[in-house]
Amino acid sequence: MNKQTNLPVGILPSQSLTSYNNEIKQSLQAGFEFTELLSQVLATSNPHELLTAIQGLINLHLGSKQVQFPNQYSIADWFLLFTTRLLEINNVNSFSLASAPDHEELGVFLAGTATKVRYQFSEASTNGAYFTEIESGKKLFYLDFAANKLTFNSTDIIDFFIVQSDMEILPEESDQVITVLMNFASILADTLEFDIDYSILETNNDYQYETVSTELPSQILDKLFIASAPANVLMQPVDSGFGARLVLTDELEVRFLQSENNRQLSKFWHFEVIDAQGKASLMNVLVNFPFIQRWYLENRSVLEIQPAKPTIVDNPIKVEVLQPRSM
């Protein structure tokens, strides 16, 4: 306020540029934090540390007006890095992580589909992301960090491995890929206490694969019966309840029957897959027994497995945290 010198109002030099400086400092701080976290991700052999560090990276805002980090990986990449690192820590090597040569982007190849098919995470947010086959966009599972849950997507799994003929994935190949995915899921469950909804990949003998339809045309079972004869499989009525059982091999039996639930007026139908080792899922049956696969696909509107119940996690700022993929 110096009227005599006719000078404009200024600020004290000692107080100047502080916010500018702070902004740079914060950005650099974030940069340091970033490298710390990334180092941790790359070096740790502890799954909990890995998860915490990855979540740190996912939530970290890197860069400001003053400090630019022009080449950044996306949230989807962090999900993929987490997945592959967790497999690596657990000595699973049936995958190959690949990095784009000209920009920051990761992809992964899995044993079974080799270099034929590449996978990434998509629609990634801080809450979770879909493990997706890039060409077809089929989402094989949803990895949910907010709910500590992994949910397999039976519809897209069937679409990807069975329906798409142009991919020409052989039964052995899909079995192999599915093994890798199941491996990852079981490691998540064992080391990080994630809930896993295996859906069509469930191998537990007691599991009931519930179908979407309550009203089942009576002819559906007759169709399966007719289809089973040329395959030398005998379809029989189940001993108790209403439905059919097919002994596929000495060690494998599939059942399709009405669920017995007195509380519900509507009658649901479900599959059961029983095998001596407890290793077979409905997916294995569909992949390896063409007559059941054909029947399933022809009547898919009523036989489709119930989609997993979505985990509802409110996140109103979901859109804001989505970062544009750096190119």
Binding site: Q219, L221, D222, K223, I226, L234, M235, Q236, P237
Partner: protein
């Protein structure tokens, strides 16, 4: 009671008859008590037993057996036990369900929607096959020699019908275009006829066009029902295919056990004798109740 004793001796014939009845009933009672099924069968039809099993002529004892006619359900239930155990080895593809005391329904096979194939007459040791179902089986066996199934022809016809119906449905839009063009032509001809130089040729031409239009309209009419008909035909094809599948399972099980259908028929015809001979040999081995 001296008087009574006198009375007895005065009717030796009647007393003899009554003794015979008492003897019969007590023999039957004893046979049931010691589970001698063979003897029970013999007592229930001595002539049949003697002729078919022992191959010697015999007097009928039907008048005696008549006494226990109203016990047939219980007797049938009792004798079914060992008989069904025997049949499960001799005819492993038949299954039985007791729907009323001593009344056994036969099911052919353990597969989906197996057929109700008739009844087991336990006291006669005889299958009473459902004539319609048995006829289907014998027909399909005869056709199998030409590698055909019972419903092959019907299915072929229905499939062909469906293809034709589908063509009708698919041709709808093309017909609509044709109808439009025919109507325009008819209008043209009609207008021309009103002119001064109307002649027979134009009338002929018009009639021809109208006929064409009507043919197309009749196809339209058929198309209306085509979709329903296709669905009905598909249901029918499914039903017939299922029947063929069931018949093929039936034939296959017979072949697996008997080698050919004639041997099965012979075994069915000789069931009474075969079963009783088995009971006799079990008896000789002192192995009662083996089948329990």
């Amino acid at each position: 009671m001296l008087e009574n004793a006198k009375t007895v001796t005065t009717n030796p014939e009647l007393i003899g008859k009554l003794d015979e009845k008492l003897g019969y009933l007590s023999e039957l009672r004893q046979a049931i008590l010691v589970q001698d099924d063979r003897l029970v069968f013999e007592l229930l039809a001595r002539k049949k037993y003697q002729q078919q099993v022992m191959q010697q002529p015999s007097q009928s004892n039907d008048d005696l057996a008549e006494m226990v006619a109203n016990l047939k359900p219980q007797l049938s239930h009792l004798l079914a036990n060992k008989l069904i155990a025997y049949l499960s080895e001799a005819f492993p593809f038949f299954y039985y369900k007791e729907i009323d005391e001593g009344v056994y329904q036969i099911y052919f096979g353990n597969w989906w929607d197996r057929r109700n194939f008739g009844y087991l007459d336990v006291l006669d040791v005889k299958f009473v096959f459902d004539t319609t179902e048995y006829q289907k089986l014998t027909d399909s066996v005869a056709l199998s020699k030409d590698n055909k199934r019972l419903n092959t022809e019907k299915i072929t016809t229905l499939t062909k019908d469906n293809e034709d119906l589908q063509k009708l449905v698919d041709g709808q839009s093309e017909r609509d275009v044709q109808k439009g063009s025919l109507r325009a032509q008819i209008d043209e001809v009609t207008n021309a006829r009103q002119g001064l130089f109307a002649n027979g040729k134009l009338k002929e031409q018009r009639d021809e066009l109208v006929a064409q239009l009507e043919a197309l309209q009749s196809d339209d009419e058929k198309t209306k029902n085509a979709r329903t008909q296709i669905i009905e035909n598909n249901d029918q094809i499914l039903f017939l295919s299922k029947e063929d599948t069931i018949l093929s399972y039936e034939y296959k099980s017979i072949i697996e056990k008997f080698g050919d259908f004639e041997k099965f028929e012979t075994a069915v015809a000789n069931l009474y004798k075969a079963y009783l001979v088995t009971l006799i040999s079990k008896e000789q081995q002192g192995a009662f109740g083996d089948y329990e």
